[in-house]
Symmetry: C2
Subunit: 162 residues, 2 copies
């Protein structure tokens, strides 16, 4: 399959996930692209552990960054690429920021709030519902999470064997 | 009715809502109380407009503050007082922060995520579900929002009459 522009952008989000993995954070990454220029304007990986901030998910960081760039509470000209389906916190925040389109990689069957566990944009009275495109590079986006949690389990078992 | 400790704390949250009103922000306020000392450790009003940040709801600011104080992603010894029922973003974040109890004032019939529109803690697979106590000083907490939006409508009508 040819590499589409969406794959290229999701690979940039995956790079952020890999950087998060190296920081011992749950490996989720995101980038924000301006829909007119096509440029990546913000990129982030999960930093909840480093920042002692349970709200420092990748998406929350890029929402804050693009709104800061726009000097506004809304960023309607941005498309967001996230390696994992957003949780309820991030799905709501992406709506408040009025982002145009959300592309995500792996589905989060347990905690995803767009197409999985809670379909927040289907049932709730949010003013703005971004277009949602799931499954962009779903396999590598899921694999990095599997690798991370497998490593965590192995570390835990090693400690228990001491 | 005697003034309970919960009323006193909600009045502190209401003060933050009044300060938000004075800044021309949607007047919602919150405080966080340490459950052992009983002290108010963080207080905030909505600052989405001032900070150009759609995530800068009162609750999100105090979550970040108490986790910063605790140097942790979790703050399980805190009780939160909020003048309005939290939205889905804040309700999820309060769960991630593992706060103990959420006391709120006015219900948000349209966008509330605890007892109104979406009952996030009833239906979703969140790991932690804080205890929820609604209706603390519900009337003044609702009235300040009514006053704010009435003022906004009057300002809009005045502009249209020019």
């Amino acid at each position: 399959m040819l590499e589409s522009i969406h794959h290229t952008r999701m690979r940039a989000a995956l790079e952020e996930a890999h950087l998060a993995f190296a920081r011992d954070e749950v490996p989720i990454g995101a980038v924000a692209v301006h829909s007119v220029s096509g440029e990546i304007m913000a990129r982030a990986g999960n930093r909840t552990r480093e920042l002692c901030d349970p709200t420092a998910h990748a998406e929350m960081q890029i929402i804050r960054e693009i709104c800061r760039l726009e000097c506004a509470q809304r960023a309607p000209e941005y498309d967001i690429y996230i390696t994992l389906e957003p949780c309820p916190m991030c799905a709501a925040a992406l709506s408040y920021a009025r982002v145009r389109t959300i592309y995500f990689g792996a589905s989060d069957v347990k905690s995803g709030a767009l197409t999985s566990s809670i379909q927040l944009y289907s049932f709730s009275p949010l003013h703005h519902k971004p277009v949602v495109i799931p499954g962009v590079l779903a396999d590598p986006c899921a694999q990095i999470l599997k690798d991370f949690f497998a490593q965590k389990r192995a570390q835990k078992n090693a400690v228990e064997m001491i």
